[in-house]
């Protein structure tokens, strides 16, 4: 059998499910429109067209993003390690332990210095 057939089948199922859900919701759902429904928040003030500061984020997000990247890269190494875990044996475990504990030092630093607090 052509190896691409399962992919096509999965793709067709995914597409079919999405299409079915959308169409079914549109056909069966009740439609009662009023002005309150069109508002962004039913209770609360209207959001301004742009947030304070011209829609720019505070630099705090950068810290979170950087931390994400650090652990993201760690996963890149964990992935092949996990796949070959049986073959690597004890030295593989020790290597990864050293690697993770070093990266964990960075985590400890960020945590202790309040990098994970938002306030």
């Amino acid at each position: 059998m052509n190896p691409y057939v399962p992919i096509l089948v999965i793709g067709a199922i995914g597409f079919g499910f999405g299409a079915f859900s959308l169409i079914a919701a549109a056909l069966t759902g009740p439609k009662r429109y009023n002005r309150a429904k069109a508002e962004a928040y039913e209770c609360g003030i209207q959001p301004s067209p742009q947030a304070a500061g011209g829609g720019r984020f505070p630099v705090k997000y950068f810290l979170t993003a950087m931390l994400f990247i650090v652990f993201d890269i760690e996963i890149v190494f964990l992935y092949p390690w996990a796949v070959t875990f049986d073959k690597l044996g004890l030295f593989g475990l020790v290597e990864m332990f050293i690697f993770i504990s070093t990266v964990f030092v960075a985590y400890a630093y960020v945590w202790r210095r309040g990098g994970l607090e938002w306030d």
Partner: protein, 260 residues
Amino acid sequence: MINFALEVGPTATPEAVMFWILAPIAVAAAAGMIFAKKAVHSALLLAWVMITLAIFYIAQDALFLGIVQIVVYTGAVMMLFLFILMLVGVDSSDSLVENIRGLRPASIVAAVGLGGLLVSLIGRATLGTDVVGLSAANSGGNVQGIAEELFTKYVWAFEVVSALLITAALGAMVLAHSSVIKSRTAQRDQSIARFRGASLANAAGLPSSGVFSRHNAVDVPALLPDGTPAPTSISKTLEARGDMLSSKPFELEEKEAEED
């Protein structure tokens, strides 16, 4: 396990189909990335280019590279979005004013020149030559092969990478994290202030905003039992921004109250 990638050789039909569908999209997205005026659109198109490349990698037996491409570039593209949101804002567009005259034509010439040179040289060197050693390298599985190299031959480099990751975290903290120098008023301090203050009027907390059953939005001051609006019930920020509404229209009228 189904081997999604085909044997190396002349491009087989399914792969050709995939290529001819995805490649134009990838090139179009890459061109769009350059020509889009809004930075956010560029970032989105870049994400699309990256994902397309990942599919190509996987189709060409580089499973690890494809997965890493997706895993890492989700992070990288998120960073890109953040940088846009932090530095320029979502709605701003590129300025088309040249700060240094002649910079743009010069850079276009240089980029096209270098790109053309590289493409022609590398193309001449690679086109028509056979792929060597791929099936040997992938014999035990692509990811497994990389793992074996990484954790035996290049284990030293792998461990040193952890120094790089610590530096990155350290750098992010140094450049972006302000530790609090003056301690802020916490809940405990506020509680003490309420009870030790001049009067106990606010000891139970400030009134919450909104007029009962008429309008409970945060920008409408509450009405006190005597019918007067309570300015302390809404945020000072809203007041300063001029977003505070009057609670007059929402007051219960005397007449109605008597009927009940």
